[in-house]
Structures are given as structure tokens and as C-alpha cells.
């Protein structure tokens, strides 16, 4: 089976945040009110944030600023610390390596949220709201089933959500291939952020396929993963600048 992974080349990333916006509109992530955002409740499945180059030293002072910008989706770890702790199986890993989040099952205990060392998970503090014109243009895609509600589906209040590597696009591609009676092709499935990236810094593919871009880039000398010492084996891979 496939093992989906994303490679982000930090040399090419210009921190334009197109990925974050594309993700927001693809996945119906609401913007929160300014006072909520000040509290730190903004929801960005793909987050673009500054990080000091040397974590022990800090960002420095202008003009000797030592910071870089990271763009961060969910890591879709192979040893996810979030899944270990979910009491009801609302988050789980499927055979294709995606860490899924089922809004219909989640009881809102936020154990997964405090357990994630990368901070990729977000919680619906209130009922999500959109301003008038946006509310009419939500993405209708969703992954729905008996007791299952995933992907861009409008979340109820009190559940946890996170980047899904656009699982709805995966399901649609599978369904399309099946309807046309042919095999599924990996290049038919690409998350919104990868599709949008202005600097062509993001790559997506199947690590099980040795010829895919991600497999090739994984072997690059510049490749690294975030927080490797924590033992999570993240599948989102970065290429170092320089």
C-alpha cells in the first residue's frame, strides 16, 4: 500500500502563505475573531511561522536577525503520539499512512492535542462561524459515513481537527479510478497546499514508490525531519536551506 509523504524545500519557500490560505479554503477552516486570535486560538492546519535558526539563541535583533520561516502541515507520523492516547479511536492511522481525524467520534478530551509535540492539532472552542459571503462558499467535499465525518466537513463545536493531507482528494481520486475501471495513479492525488505553492517548494507522493519525487528527495543530503529525537518518525520531510 502507499505511504504518503510530503517534502518541503525550505530553500524555495518564500513564506508567502499561499499554502495556508489554500488549505483554509479547501478544508473549511474558519478564521477566528481578532481577540480569539490574540489568545492563540487561530486555526491553521498548515501554519507558517518564524523559528530561530539556533533554538538555544533566539531570533536576534534587526539587522542581525537569525530567523527562518517554517511552513508546517501535520507530520503524519509513523509512530504518532496522538493516536496512542486517544480514548475512543477518533484519531487513527489508515493503511496508506494518513493520520485521520473523525469528527463524529471525537469527545473533545484534547489528550491528542496536548500529546502532539509539533502542535499541529487544533480545537473548536466555539461553533465555527464564517462571515456572510464566505459562509455560502464552503467546500462541499467531505468524507462521510456511518459514524464517520472527516476532511473538509464542517466541524461541530468541541472536536479536534488537523491537516489530513487532503484525504477527501484521495478518496475522490480512488472513487474516480474505480468508476473508470482503471488503476489509481499517484499523481492524481495532491493536497491543496502542494498544488498551490507559488515557489514550487512542496512535493507530495508515495514513499513506497522508489521513483516518486519524495523518495528521491528523501535521500537528499539536505533532508531532515522536525524533532527527530522524539521518536515519532514524521513523514513530512524538509530540505534544509543552503
Amino acid at each position: 500500500m502507499s505511504k504518503w509523504s510530503m517534502v518541503i524545500d525550505l530553500d524555495k519557500c518564500v513564506a508567502c502563505q499561499a499554502c495556508s490560505i489554500a488549505c483554509r479554503f479547501e478544508n473549511n477552516t474558519p478564521a477566528v475573531a481578532p481577540d480569539q486570535a490574540e489568545m492563540g486560538r487561530a486555526m491553521r492546519w498548515n501554519d507558517v511561522f518564524p523559528m530561530p535558526i539556533n533554538s538555544m539563541e533566539g531570533s536576534g535583533e534587526y539587522p542581525n536577525v537569525k530567523t527562518q520561516y517554517m511552513t508546517r502541515p501535520c507530520m503524519h507520523c509513523e509512530n504518532p503520539p496522538c493516536i496512542k492516547v486517544c480514548p475512543v479511536g477518533a484519531t487513527f492511522i489508515n493503511e496508506e499512512g494518513l493520520v485521520e481525524q473523525n469528527y463524529a467520534r471525537c469527545i473533545g478530551c484534547r489528550f491528542c492535542t496536548v500529546g502532539c509535540p509539533y502542535g499541529v492539532r487544533y480545537f473548536n472552542w466555539f461553533e465555527p462561524q464564517w462571515e456572510a459571503p464566505l459562509a455560502e462558499h464552503l467546500n462541499p467535499d467531505k468524507v462521510e459515513g456511518k459514524g464517520v465525518l472527516e476532511g473538509p466537513a464542517v466541524r461541530p463545536r468541541g472536536v479536534v481537527e488537523k491537516c489530513t493531507y487532503c484525504i477527501h482528494r484521495l478518496k475522490k481520486a480512488h472513487a474516480q479510478a474505480e468508476a473508470e475501471g482503471r488503476d489509481f495513479r499517484a499523481d492524481e492525488y495532491v493536497p491543496a497546499c502542494v498544488q498551490t505553492c507559488t515557489g514550487k517548494a512542496r512535493f507530495f507522493g508515495d514513499l513506497e514508490d522508489p521513483n516518486s519525487a519524495v523518495s528521491q528527495l528523501e535521500k537528499n543530503t539536505r533532508s531532515f525531519r522536525l524533532l527527530e529525537d522524539v521518536g515519532t518518525h514524521p513523514k513530512t520531510i524538509y530540505l534544509r536551506e543552503g
Binding site: V230, G231, T232
Partner: protein, 455 residues
């Protein structure tokens, strides 16, 4: 021949307790000879090491600490037996412990020097041992260790001697047939003890105070020993639980050692009336609690560490569960927990033989446990590149094994010689007046340690 003006409490078992002191048998001299022989072998092994260097051991890179350090931790752990019985149980008011106190404290007293000795043996430059005093840095956990253990040794000697004092006076007065030098020894050591009521009261008060001090000390000592490991950053060692973990293990293995020693004394010196089965039953209940407490510590340690799954920690954990040390680890689990708990719960009541079996298993298992805490961490360092072909293995050499055996032989020898010169059961503490009846809770202010009878 001393005039009978000094007082000793009446004890109907006095004859039985003093019997070993009165004569040394032929078999015993053979035992001493064998033990001395083993110690000689150990001395020869150490001489080899002194001449050639620590290369004669099996130590290597990255396993720089091996069975010498295991012995160190084990012997210090063994030393906790005495303090637990004499001090902690004294504070808890467990009167049944009285016949055991001296036997247990003797274990403490005689194993501490071998613990300290193990460290000296392990040093690369033992001739520079005084540098610790001249250039000692209190930032180092080793220095806390040395301070704590020295204080413990000193206090144990004082505590032991004080509780021995009335019995030395008894020996001085009763053992009229002993050789002149032995009588002189008793006379000097008795410090003029006459058995007056105020002397006894003063003694009891000092022992009460020391009991509190020793309890605090025992908690500190083994915690500080564990912090030699805990204050590093090595996976498997740098764990906050290591303090309580070692402490519970020490009291556990110490109490098990007390059971073994008591059973041997009981059999060899025919002390069935002095050390009745009820003592073993009380110890059995304590050991059940300790066994379960040890299991709890292991669960706390391994459940937390393995659930976290940190990349540095997991290789060490796998080494213990399924790797090179799996055999030792699971043997330890069987020897320390599975068999003992089954024996204690189902077979141990009133059956000294089974108790001793379980306790022997516990002590062997606890030695392995120390080994399994120390060595696997060293075999899986973070930078895996240090582990090249053939590295990360450890096999003790004959030198280490000989020295280890000689340490145990030394402990046994000191103990056996002691029992031939001093009564191993405190005659004055097990005397009749304070023995049988349980004092009622009269006026609470006047409650005294050691009045409750059985557990």
C-alpha cells in the same frame, strides 16, 4: 572475675544465645579457612589488576562500568536491611523485630565496607584516592555519594556499637572461661557499663534519636547512589524515578538478605526458640508488600518510558526486553517477582525453607537487576557510530569474577567471625520484662517505641 554488681535483664534464652560465643567448632575453622582462601584468590586477582591496569577486566568502550559498580550498588543496597529493621521498624513501634536487630545491623555494618571497597577496586588510579579530599568538587554526584556513604558507615558503626554495649558487658561478666585477651577486649569495649536504670534510659533515648536520623540517612544514601546515574543524561539512567526505584529495591533485597541470614543462624546455632517462625511470618508480610512495590516501580518506569517512545530511550528498552540482555532481564523478573510472590503467598507461611528459597532468588535477581540497569544503557549510546563491529558487548573476566566472589566471601567471613565473639541476638532487648505483654494505650504522651507486639 567481675563481682556481680552490674545488672543484666533476665533473659531465659541467654544460654542459647551465648552458646556460639563460648566455643568455636572444628567445622567453623574450616569455613574460615575456605573463606580466607577465597579472599586470597580475590586479593591475587586484584594484585594482577594493580600491576597491569584495568585492562585485565572485561571493560571496554563503551561499557566503562561493569560488575564492580554493580557490586557497589548491590552491597550498599544490602546495607539497608539493618537500618530498615533497627531504625524504621523501631519508629513504627514493631516490637517483634527485636531479636533481629543485631543480625540485620551486622549485615549493614559488614557490607558497607565492601561496597566502598568495590569503588576503590574500580578506580583506575586508586593511589590517588586522596584527591577526592584535596580537590573534591561538590557539584559531582560522586562526592555526594562519598559523603552520604561515609556518614552512613559512621552512623551505623555508632548505632551498632551502642546497641551492642549492654551485651558486651554481659559477655564481660558471664564469659569467665574465655581467653584472657578476649576478656580484656570485652572489658575495654564495655566502657564500664553497669546496667543502671538511668544508663538504660539514656541509651534508649539516644537510640530513638539515632533511629530518626538513620531513617533519614537511609533514604538519602541510596537515593544519592542512584543519582550517580540519574544526574547524567544517558537514556535509561536519566530517569526521575531512579531515586525511589533504587530505594525500594534496596530495602527489598536487604530484608530478603535478613531472612536468609536469620534462617542460617537459626539452624546452625539451634536458636529455634529465640528466632521463632512468627518472625519469619512477619517478614513474609513485609516482603509481599515490597515485592508488589518493586513491581509497581518497574511498571511506572517502563510503561512511561515505552509509551513516550523517545528515540534515545527505545534502543535501551529493547536491549532489556528483547535484545542482548533479554535473558538476564527476564530471569531477573522471574527471580525477583514471579517466583517469590508465588512462594510468599502460597507456600511461605510457617515454612522457613520456602522463605529462604524465595529470598535467595530475590537477592540473585536483585544483583542481576543492578547489572541490567547499569550495562544496557552503556551498550546503546546515542551516537550509534560509536558502536562499531564487535562493540557494545561485555563479558566479565576472571579477575572481576574472582574479586566479586571474594567480596561475598569477605562479608561472610566477617559475619561468621562476629557471631563467634558477640551474641548475634540482642540479649538485653529481648529480655523478659519488655517481651510478652502489649502495653495498652494509656496516656498517649508516654507511648514508647517498640511496645507493639506483632505485625
Amino acid at each position: 572475675m567481675r563481682p556481680a554488681t552490674s545488672y543484666h535483664p533476665q533473659n531465659k534464652n541467654e544460654a542459647v544465645i551465648l552458646a556460639p560465643v563460648r566455643r568455636v567448632t572444628f567445622e567453623e575453622r574450616w569455613l574460615w579457612a575456605i573463606l580466607l582462601g577465597l579472599m586470597g584468590l580475590g586479593a591475587y586477582a586484584y594484585l594482577t589488576q594493580w600491576n597491569s591496569g584495568l585492562g585485565v577486566t572485561g571493560l571496554n568502550r563503551p561499557v566503562y562500568w561493569g560488575i564492580y559498580i554493580t557490586n557497589f550498588v548491590f552491597f550498599i543496597g544490602l546495607a539497608h536491611s539493618g537500618t530498615f529493621i533497627s531504625a524504621i521498624l523501631r519508629l513504627a513501634g514493631a516490637g517483634w523485630r527485636k531479636p533481629l536487630t543485631r543480625a540485620a545491623e551486622a549485615i549493614t555494618l559488614f557490607s558497607l565496607p565492601f561496597g566502598v571497597g568495590s569503588i576503590l577496586i574500580d578506580m583506575g588510579r586508586p593511589d590517588r584516592v586522596l584527591n577526592i579530599m584535596f580537590y573534591g568538587r561538590f557539584q559531582s554526584p560522586l562526592l555526594w555519594d562519598i559523603t552520604a556513604v561515609s556518614l552512613y558507615l559512621f552512623s551505623s558503626i555508632v548505632f551498632f556499637y551502642l546497641s551492642l554495649l549492654p551485651d558486651i558487658a554481659l559477655c564481660r561478666d558471664r564469659l569467665t572461661e574465655a581467653p584472657a585477651w578476649q576478656q580484656k577486649m570485652y572489658k575495654i569495649l564495655a566502657l564500664g557499663w553497669m546496667g543502671r536504670p538511668e544508663q538504660f534510659e539514656r541509651l534508649e533515648r539516644v537510640l530513638d534519636g539515632m533511629a530518626i536520623f538513620m531513617t533519614l540517612l537511609v533514604v538519602t544514601v541510596h537515593t544519592v547512589v542512584s543519582w550517580v546515574f540519574g544526574m547524567t543524561v544517558e537514556p535509561g539512567w536519566h530517569t526521575a524515578l531512579i531515586g525511589p526505584f533504587f530505594l525500594v529495591g534496596a530495602i527489598f533485597s536487604g530484608t530478603a538478605a535478613v531472612v536468609i541470614v536469620l534462617a542460617i543462624l537459626r539452624r546452625v546455632y539451634h536458636m529455634e526458640n529465640v528466632l521463632p517462625v512468627s518472625l519469619f511470618n512477619s517478614l513474609r508480610k513485609l516482603l509481599i508488600v515490597f515485592t508488589v512495590a518493586w513491581l509497581y516501580m518497574m511498571i511506572a518506569e517502563f510503561l512511561t518510558a515505552s509509551y513516550g517512545g523517545l528515540a534515545d530511550e527505545m534502543p535501551v528498552i529493547w536491549q532489556k526486553f528483547t535484545g542482548d540482555f533479554a535473558g538476564l532481564f527476564w530471569t531477573m523478573a522471574l527471580a525477583v517477582f514471579v517466583f517469590p510472590i508465588l512462594i510468599f503467598v502460597f507456600l511461605g507461611k510457617d515454612h522457613i525453607g520456602w522463605m529462604v528459597t524465595a529470598c535467595v532468588l530475590i537477592n540473585i535477581g536483585m544483583w542481576i537487576e543492578r547489572f541490567v540497569v547499569i550495562v544496557p544503557t552503556e551498550t546503546r549510546p546515542r551516537l550509534v557510530s560509536t558502536l562499531m563491529e564487535g562493540m557494545g558487548n561485555y563479558t566479565p573476566s576472571w579477575v572481576e569474577i574472582a574479586i566479586t566472589v571474594s567480596l561475598f566471601a569477605g562479608l561472610t567471613l566477617l559475619y561468621v567471625v562476629f557471631t563467634r565473639f558477640f551474641p548475634i541476638v540482642p540479649i538485653w532487648e529481648t529480655a523478659e520484662e519488655t517481651a510478652e505483654t502489649e502495653l495498652p494505650p494509656v496516656e498517649p504522651r508516654r507511648k514508647v517505641f517498640g511496645t507493639r507486639q506483632s505485625l
